[in-house]
């Protein structure tokens, strides 16, 4: 009984996911260039938000320095591609591997020396800032002047991941879909269960045999690798990378705003949250520019965060689910009562 209803809601969830991404695919076919390029960024941050969400929402480890991993991915792809003509596919894999190792080492050292919780989060910022400054002073990667991809020729080349803005939209869409599905699969796997257990109560999880140390290192590492893949594509989409933008605090905030606004630990939260927050960020940015008020976008971000935390502390998506259930459940129980009456 229990299991069949679980399966039914599973099927429904996957169905909803497919429907959402089908709609987004259609949107990519018919929208203006501006909307497409904005949505591409939204989808990339959805994917990076998923990876961040895996770490905090499921694994219970807070990072405020994901720009470190985003930057590693962006630089790995750019260095190989711009300097050696190597396909971004290799760069993405290499970037993910390097970020995974860096994440694992950072987590291993911190947790080994009992640097946890908010102190670990501060360490992630420090590591990201350290990397940003290091890359800024590193001539081989262009220093503060950054790296530039050659202008796109306009012809699509899947092997070299080059194409027009619509092409990148679909790359980002596939990534976001992989992110949503991957989060869902991982959170339903053995990892998901033990990660959520250690998130809720580390000591109790250990008493049940969960080797929380290695699982914390693992979740940070996987999250870092995911962020690096997103970063690699982000660099390609933007056509240029600079340490201050790709490894700056701004990126770390952009990565976490989606899941925080949309719903921590949920598969859809980062998509919903990025959809809501990032266009607002851009709109406020251009409004601020035209009004001559720099920083209006940051104020808007802050306001959205405060409003969401105040009114929807679990984020938008769980609130939507609750609303849906509030509408659905009474209907269902009415039906089952009717059935009983018939019997």
């Amino acid at each position: 009984m229990q299991r069949t209803s679980d399966q039914a809601s599973d099927a429904k969830r996957w169905g909803a996911g497919v429907a959402v991404f089908a709609v987004l695919a259609v949107v990519g076919g018919v929208s203006s260039a501006y909307v497409i390029s904005l949505l591409t960024i939204v989808l990339l941050f959805t994917f990076m938000g998923q990876s961040w969400n895996l770490m905090l929402g499921i694994g219970g480890q807070l990072s405020i320095g994901h720009a470190l991993f985003v930057g590693i991915g962006a630089y790995a792809v750019a260095i190989l591609n711009i300097k050696y003509g190597i396909t971004p596919w290799i760069g993405l894999l290499l970037g993910a591997a390097i970020a995974g190792v860096v994440g694992a080492v950072l987590a291993w050292l911190s947790f080994r020396f009992e640097v946890r919780g908010i102190y670990f989060a501060l360490l992630t910022i420090a590591a990201a800032e350290f990397a940003r400054i290091m890359f800024g002073g590193w001539d081989y990667v262009g220093g503060m002047q950054g790296l530039f991809y050659p202008a796109p020729s306009g012809t699509m080349d899947l092997a070299m991941l080059r194409g027009d803005s619509q092409f990148y939209y679909f790359v980002a869409l596939v990534l976001a879909a992989v992110g949503v599905a991957g989060t869902e699969l991982i959170s339903r796997s053995y990892w998901g269960y033990v990660w959520r257990a250690m998130r809720d109560d580390d000591e109790a999880a250990r008493a049940l045999g969960v080797r929380t140390f290695r699982h914390k290192v693992l979740v940070v590492s996987i999250s870092a690798a995911g962020a690096a893949i997103g970063g690699g594509v982000l660099g390609l989409v933007q056509g240029s990378i600079f340490p201050d933008s790709i490894m700056g605090m701004g990126i770390s905030v952009d990565v976490l705003i989606g899941p925080v606004v949309g719903g921590l630990g949920t598969a859809f939260g980062p998509l919903i949250g990025s959809m809501a927050a990032i266009p607002l960020h851009h709109a406020m940015g251009s409004l601020g520019d035209s009004l001559g008020i720099p920083g209006l976008n940051s104020v808007a971000y802050g306001a959205v965060l405060i409003l969401v935390v105040w009114f929807l502390p679990d984020g938008i998506w769980p609130a939507v689910v609750r609303l849906y259930e509030a509408v659905q459940l009474p209907a269902r129980s009415r039906i089952s009562q009717l059935r009983k009456v018939e019997e």
């Binding site: 033990v194 000591e203 250990r206 008493a207 049940l208 045999g209």
Partner: protein, 241 residues
């Protein structure tokens, strides 16, 4: 008969306070032993030492003949010692069933297998009907039973139960006693902290009594309750039989 667990001269002090003082006892496989003593006697600290949550200041914990007192709790659990917490610790954002599944992941990575083990554990303690509930919907006695189900899912050889029957009505407690007996019949060894003497007399084959961290008596329940030192520890120094 060989001892499944042997505690030798176990001592734990917290900045001068000796919570467990040179305690030794051993547990025979398949038996139910009660660890009793007044509040603050050191019972929970003893559990923490055996389960690896604390390291002893001195002394040894031997499980199946191996010294385990320097192992972390997750390793001790994987060897076959599961414990419940006196102050219950449900994973609050996971359902009752998911809570019970966690322990099973100490021996399997298969989610289906873990789920069926969790159902089995919940059935054992009478919580199967609440499998999909959130833990904050459970009453305190039910949360204690969930602690037990979580521990059972790890497939322990030794189960440490810290006041799991506190707050149960006598009929409910009798049900749990029946469950414990059945588990022991299947070979599980149980060490139980319990304040209600009637339950201790009923279920335990051996009783270990702690007072101010030290063991003051050990033996069959009827023997122990007649021990003047035990009566004195419970009723105060002014008591004379």
């Amino acid at each position: 008969m060989t001892a499944l667990l042997e505690v030798r001269n176990l001592t734990k002090s917290f900045q001068g306070l000796v919570a467990v003082n040179d305690v030794s006892f051993s547990l025979e496989a398949g038996r139910i032993t009660a660890l009793i003593g007044p509040n603050g006697a050191g019972k929970t600290t003893c559990f923490n030492l055996v389960a690896g949550a604390l390291s002893p200041t001195a002394g040894q914990v031997l499980f199946e003949g191996r010294a385990i007192e320097r192992n972390p709790p997750e390793a001790v659990c994987r060897m076959g010692i599961a414990r419940t917490f006196q102050i219950v610790r449900p994973m609050k954002d996971m359902s009752v069933l998911e809570n019970a599944m966690v322990g099973a992941f100490s021996w399997t990575t298969n989610v289906k297998e873990a789920r069926s083990k969790a159902y089995e554990s919940l059935e054992r303690v009478g919580l199967a009907g609440k499998a999909s509930a959130r833990t904050d919907q459970l009453t305190l006695p039910d949360r204690k039973m969930l602690e037990m189900a979580k521990a059972l899912s790890t497939r322990p050889k030794l189960l440490l139960l810290d006041e799991v029957m506190a707050g149960l009505r006598p009929t409910e407690a009798a049900g749990v006693v029946g469950v414990l007996r059945k588990l022991a019949e299947h070979g599980l060894t149980i060490l139980l902290v319990e304040h209600v003497m009637r339950i201790v007399m009923d279920v335990a084959s051996t009783v270990v009594v702690l007072h101010h961290g030290a063991k003051i008596a050990e033996g069959e329940p009827s023997q122990v309750v007649a021990d003047p030192a035990v009566l004195e520890s419970y009723l105060g120094a002014g008591f004379h039989a």
